[in-house]
């Protein structure tokens, strides 16, 4: 998100899901959309049925490839090289959108120079994608009237994740695919309310509405609103907290509705960190891997038991309504946080229940992006931010009237080649990449407790290309031991051409063979995201 914010002044899907059907060309990179965002994928299939051209860039033969005009099977970790070479080819053919570049962007000259090394031939060598396919992709994308780019964690979960996002943004700028319908740069958010958690200031550097904690005027605004002095010091991102716990400077933590002891790359390391805390509170609906490490566990409520709002990937704020009561003494998370807030700050009456409507109004008063929203309006229709006034209809796509940067222009970035931190070598000859599968969700806390889903996808597996399987002497369904420098798991082989030779894939849903015991916690220097998508492993049959 930091990448997009730097370029455009805002980090979210620029366009809406319904517009996808009207794309003339789609470029899907680092997103296994049919399995991770099945309903967004329906719009992609609709676009293809209407004649749009679909380019899929993915090392795995994901289901979307079946609908693609062109499939670019690049090596894991070479996304920015591929993107740069496509842009180089667009320039070589003179297909760039000169008007858009002149009127709405800055930093173009330096950007063009930075593309120099990225000839299709160089890219073929680095990415494994034939130069002619790179040129073909350039032609398809640049020739389209309305072309959209869609990406997810396959782009971001790398040490050069921010760079990858910058390159994606460059491609949209170079072809003038911003600020209009049915195009744009569209990060597909993986969780129901990850957009909302960011919007609400669940980040170490910003208050609600992406207002920076280290800008004195902003700090003053929130000090006035909340009636206490606030810290102007940027806090620690989650990935940095791990180190701080181990080193002893971070002593107390409160985690709610997250399971980092399973989802963190290099889990052994983060479990050790949580164990070293003086005090850990976990609030969840199940005894998760993280809750097992806690000093206090607080039983929260599922989505079916609470009132509130979620914000979807397309900036759409929607109501969540209570259907049933929570089991036993479990309480809504809002009620629990409210009680702790009152006890810790000494403000407010413990007898009065927290009111989501009042809290939403408080948010709308502090963030202009949702100033025009209220439960009254949301009761009838969901709304997409920005929604500035009570009669504002919400915003289908961003940047219609320029960008939110200081100059009002989008900023081209120079993206050099950065290699993944851990590449295969003699000892660890395979590249491991991780992800989700259709039938499960994240750490499996919910889906593995849903009998049907667990019946069709009962156990962990590692996808191995038939050529590698032959060398290893392994048949489909046989047990393999997969080892990285950080950990070891045993699981069944799934011999499949979905993965290319020398690459293996493991879904990270299964605690009995947790893929994140193997993954690398090397971090992107800007976003502090960990490199869950590429690490080196060895595979043995035993």
């Amino acid at each position: 998100m930091a990448g997009l914010a730097a370029k455009f002044g805002s980090g979210a899907m620029t366009n809406s899901v319904a517009e996808i059907a009207d794309n003339d060309a789609l470029f899907v990179i680092g997103s296994n959309t049919t399995e991770n965002h099945p309903i967004i994928a329906l719009r992609m299939k609709e676009a293809v049925a209407k004649g749009a051209k679909l380019i899929v860039a993915d090392p795995r033969k994901i289901p979307l490839v079946k609908y693609a005009t062109l499939w670019l099977r690049h090596k894991p970790g070479t996304d920015s090289v591929l993107l740069n070479s496509i842009m180089k080819a667009i320039l070589a053919e003179g297909l760039e959108d000169k008007t858009f570049i002149n009127e709405q962007t800055q930093g173009y000259e330096e950007f063009v120079q930075s593309l120099d090394p990225f000839t299709p031939e160089y890219a073929e060598e680095m990415t494994g994608v034939p130069a002619k396919d790179i040129i073909e992709a350039a032609r398809i994308f640049a020739a389209a009237e309305n072309a959209g780019i869609y990406y997810a964690m396959g782009i971001t979960q790398h040490v050069m994740g921010t760079n990858n996002v910058l390159a994606v943004g460059n491609l949209a700028m170079l072809t003038g695919n911003l600020g209009k319908r049915a195009c744009g740069v569209n990060p597909l958010r993986g969780q129901n309310n990850v957009q909302g958690a960011c919007d609400m200031g669940g980040l170490p550097n910003v208050y609600p509405g992406y207002q920076k904690v280290d800008v004195p005027a902003v700090q003053e605004k929130f000090e006035k609103a909340w009636g206490v002095p606030l810290s102007g010091k940027i806090g620690m991102p989650a990935t940095v907290m791990t180190g701080a716990m181990l080193e002893g400077s971070l002593k107390g933590m409160y985690i709610f509705g997250e399971n980092p002891a399973m989802s963190d790359p290099n889990t052994t390391h983060s479990v050790k960190a949580f164990e070293s805390l003086e005090f850990l509170v976990v609030q969840d609906i199940f005894m998760t891997e993280t809750a097992q490490l806690a000093d206090v566990v607080l039983p929260g409520a599922s989505f079916a038991e609470k009132e509130g709002t979620f914000t979807s990937s397309e900036r759409r704020i929607q109501r969540v309504r209570k259907a049933i009561n929570s089991p036993g003494q479990a309480r809504s998370d809002l009620a629990i946080i409210d009680q702790l807030y009152k006890r810790i700050t000494g403000q407010g009456d413990l007898e009065i229940a927290a009111d989501p409507v009042a809290i939403f109004d408080e948010i709308a008063g502090l963030w202009a992006g949702v100033a025009g929203m209220s439960y009254g309006r949301l009761e009838k229709n969901s709304l997409q931010w920005p929604c500035l006034t009570e009669d504002h209809p919400g915003t289908e796509y961003l940047f219609k009237d320029g960008f939110n940067t200081e100059s009002g222009k989008a900023i081209f970035s120079q993206v050099p080649y950065v290699a993944s931190k851990e590449l295969p070598d003699k000892e660890y000859p395979f590249v491991l990449t991780t992800g989700r599968q259709l039938f499960h969700y994240h750490t499996g806390t919910m889906t593995r407790r849903s009998s049907g889903l667990n019946k069709v996808a009962p156990e962990p597996f590692v996808e191995v290309n038939p050529a590698d399987a032959k060398i290893l002497g392994v048949n489909n369904g046989e047990k393999l031991t997969v080892t990285s420098r950080r950990g070891q798991i045993k699981l069944k082989a799934k011999v499949s051409k979905i993965v290319p030779p020398n690459v293996v894939f493991i879904p990270f849903h299964y605690s009995e063979a947790a893929a994140n015991l193997l993954t690398n916690d090397a971090m992107d220097p800007v976003c502090k995201i960990m490199e869950a998508k590429v690490c080196a492993v060895k595979i043995e049959k035993r």
Binding site: S249, G252, E258, G308, L334, T445
Partner: protein
């Protein structure tokens, strides 16, 4: 624009509109079993027939394009008789078991039988007897109840792009099956279940659950990925018994396997039901009251802050929980502890 007269009403519609769409724009309705606005017209059930001036026989309105000057009649004694006969023919080999059918009350065929008052059937004869059982955990097929409307086949192909099922055989033997009659092996999105107008397709999870009495429906938002699909929870007491999605929302009523069938975790008996405190490191969890647990947490975190400074505490909020909860959580850390150490799993 095209100008039509339907049942004496003048209506102007865009070129490319079908007669069915035009009559609906005029606020009129005809029965249909095989039509869904989200899919291409199919013309299988023959119930949407209308009379058009100048045409010798009634035509299906769903497949007839509107033309300028068209004069349409949606209701006449003849149309009523033809529609009633069509429903009677459909019922002639339909199991007469609404009493035990999970779709009773949510079945277009049942509604039509009610509308036309069909109790006796003039066409009783041979009845289809399919005896297959499926082994998947999500979808029950009762082919004896299939009316061959083709909605399931079309949604699977046109919307889902999967094509897991198709028509096989002809005439009386015609049926919808997966390739070679094998077991269904698909994405289990359940789109087919959601469009089936009878009890031929149903969700295994809601078989045997209450159909209407005491069932409460709540419109809410799916809890899985960032697509943000609108869903309707059916609950009975404190149990969620079914999930659907209405057709006129931004996800157009389509859901995935997790959204439609992945809700059992809500009523799992592994849910946490009481606060737990571990009094000393390495010890066992002990049950606690809310007051004990909340006071303990407030004291401990405040004491750490007092002793080691504001930045010695941190919070992870949740990409799974509501905006209001996340807002209050970050406010707790910023106001209550004076630290910006707040983050969540956006990076995973």
């Amino acid at each position: 624009m095209l100008n039509l007269n339907i049942d004496g009403k003048d209506v102007a519609v865009a070129s490319g509109t079908t007669v069915l769409e035009a009559l609906r724009l005029a606020g009129l309705e005809v029965p249909t079993l095989c039509h869904d606005e989200r899919l291409k017209p199919f013309g299988a059930c023959r119930l949407c027939i209308v009379e058009i001036a100048g045409m010798p026989k009634p035509v299906t309105s769903c497949t007839t394009p509107a033309t300028d000057g068209m004069v349409v009649k949606t209701n006449s004694e003849r149309l009523y008789r033809l529609r009633k006969t069509t429903v009677e023919l459909l019922l002639s080999d339909h199991p007469n078991d609404c009493m035990v059918c999970g779709s009773s009350g949510d079945c277009t065929l049942q509604e039509l039988a009610y509308l036309y008052g069909i109790r006796e059937n003039r066409f009783l004869g041979e009845v289809r007897e399919h005896s297959r059982t499926d082994h998947n955990p999500f979808i029950i097929r009762d082919q004896n109840k299939c009316v061959m409307c083709g909605l399931c086949v079309r949604v699977c192909d046109e919307v889902q792009g999967v094509g897991a099922i198709g028509f096989s055989e002809r005439g009386f033997e015609a049926k919808v099956i997966p390739p070679f009659g094998h077991d269904l092996d698909c994405e289990f999105c359940g789109q087919c279940v959601s469009v089936c107008p009878t009890g031929a397709l149903a969700g295994s999870l809601w078989a045997g659950k209450p159909r209407s009495g005491g069932v409460v429906k709540t419109d809410t938002t799916c809890t899985y990925c960032g697509c943000g699909c609108n869903i309707t929870l059916s609950s009975h007491g404190d149990k969620v018994i079914r999930i659907d999605s209405v057709a006129d929302n931004h996800n157009r009523g389509w859901l995935c396997v997790k959204g439609r069938f992945g809700y059992e975790f809500i009523n799992s008996n592994e849910r946490l039901t009481t606060p737990l405190i571990r009094k000393k490191k390495g010890g066992e969890f002990e049950k606690a009251t809310w007051d004990e647990a909340l006071s303990f947490v407030a004291e401990k975190l405040s004491a750490i802050k007092e002793k080691h400074g504001a930045d010695s505490v941190a919070g992870l909020c949740s990409a799974r929980c509501t905006n209001e909860e996340n807002y209050l959580f970050q406010k707790l850390f910023r106001v209550g502890f004076g630290t910006n150490n707040i983050d969540h799993c956006a990076r995973y």
